[in-house]
């Protein structure tokens, strides 16, 4: 049911102008090979949803440096000076979202919810332009569900059906993004046969995963 495909075939699914979710946290648990192949492909005008834009030479940040990104939705861009420069020069649109809100928005997209009500950001510039909903006298920001055309994620061990085990701190946004995109491509550090993963250790069900590519060691 799940097919292993080549990195090239994976990148060929990405079109100029698409919205991508890319997993990882400060470039840990990111699909590095897919990012490199996307870099080489020159696909452009991408909207990228990610926790942070990594570094100029690591993670999602490379795509920014290579001018392939039109818009970034992230919680943090401070470790990649190129993101800030492009934003200040009006070359790149940046939407900054509190990290926990971003996590919930992606999760909501995958869970079929319209959004969640969060108290985070009330009384700060984050609430500007957002819908405010009052519940039992408390004010909340309506954080809408997010979805993407394609999610590029990282998996430590992936079985043939696409079930994913994430090692240690590589989990971060990967399982959330795996639920929230039309097409989900996982870059696997290691691929094993179906049944080899303990069903309690799997954090992403294979039914979320469209394709598997072989990743770095």
């Amino acid at each position: 049911m799940k097919k292993k495909i080549t990195i090239d075939a994976a990148v060929n699914m990405i079109e100029d102008g698409m919205t991508l979710m890319i997993g990882g946290f400060m470039a840990v648990g990111s699909p590095h090979k897919l990012i490199d192949a996307l870099l080489k492909s020159g696909k452009k005008d991408l909207t990228i949803i990610c926790n942070d834009t990594g570094f100029v030479d690591q993670g999602v940040g490379k795509l920014v440096v290579n001018n392939q990104v039109k818009k970034v939705i992230a919680s943090h861009i401070g470790t990649n000076k190129e993101t800030g420069r492009q934003m200040n020069e009006g070359l790149l649109e940046v939407e900054l979202v509190p990290q926990g809100t971003l996590a919930e928005q992606v999760r909501a997209g995958g869970a079929g919810l319209g959004g969640v009500l969060t108290p985070i950001g009330i009384g700060t510039p984050v609430e500007d332009g957002k819908e405010i909903i009052e519940v039992d006298g408390e004010r909340y920001i309506l954080a809408k569900a997010m979805k993407a055309d394609i999610a590029l994620i990282h998996g430590s061990v992936v079985d043939e059906k696409g079930n994913i085990f994430y090692n240690q701190s590589t989990r971060n946004f990967n399982p959330l993004m795996a639920s929230a995109a039309e097409v989900v491509i996982v870059e696997a550090e290691k691929i094993v046969k179906s049944g080899e993963l303990d069903p309690h250790l799997i954090a992403t069900p294979g039914l979320f995963v469209s394709h598997i590519v072989e990743g770095a060691e």
Binding site: G29, D52, H76, S169, R171
Partner: protein
């Protein structure tokens, strides 16, 4: 001790056995080194685990185990891994006893600004807004001034990270609590006079009746 060490050492005394704490990047991270051996605190790392331990020796570094600053760390017995949704359920849901964060500005009403200087520096809030909004106790740990410029204000003029959420400010000059009446100086560093501390503070300090030297 240099100012940062003084601050980290003092912040470490805020915790009690069993507290669950998130330490921000930079100075707050240093706090872990000063926690008394008599107590055990559980450190949460917003990138996805609890039970954060110290950096490993170089040959024991595991590529998949980093803190929220991307630095190699360890996990202690009794820790666990989770995804970003669970991480922020813990943070936003009120399950942290305390968080320690730096500030660009903090004011007498407990407002905190630490995520952007418009037109200049826009790193983003990362997890800071969630931490400030969710932790039971928000401790600002920072040097008292920015090379002489006030950081402890009557009212923050930078974009806020959180409104009215700060409990306590700890600097190399002293310890200040946010109270309904204003900023209460409860401890001071005897290397400074009260006049010097007030001068370094834009907000008016209320001197606690039980003012003591920094512990």
């Amino acid at each position: 001790m240099n100012p940062k060490e003084i601050i980290a050492r003092r912040v470490a005394k805020e915790f009690k056995d069993g507290d669950v704490v998130n330490l921000g990047i930079g100075l707050p991270t240093m706090v872990a080194d000063y926690v008394s051996e008599d107590i055990e605190i559980l450190l949460q790392s917003e990138n996805g685990f609890v039970g954060l331990g110290p950096a490993p020796e170089e040959h024991l570094v595991e590529k998949d185990l980093v803190n929220a600053g991307g630095q190699p760390v360890t996990i202690k017995a009794g820790g666990m891994f989770f995804d970003s949704a669970m991480s922020f359920s813990i943070i936003r849901g009120g399950h942290l006893d305390a968080t320690v964060l730096g500030a660009l500005q903090v004011d007498e009403k407990g407002n905190l600004a630490n995520w952007m200087i418009p037109g200049k520096l826009v790193p983003g809030m990362g997890g800071a807004m969630d931490l400030v909004g969710g932790a039971k106790k928000v401790i600002v740990a920072m040097q008292h001034t920015a090379k002489g410029d006030h950081k402890i204000m009557k009212e923050c003029n930078l974009p806020l990270t959180g409104r009215g959420k700060v409990s306590k400010i700890i600097t190399e000059m002293g310890v200040m609590e946010i109270t309904e009446k204003g900023l209460l100086l409860t401890e001071y560093n005897p290397e400074f006079t009260l006049e010097e501390i007030q001068e370094a503070t834009e907000a008016q300090l209320i001197i606690s009746e039980s003012l003591s030297e920094m512990i």
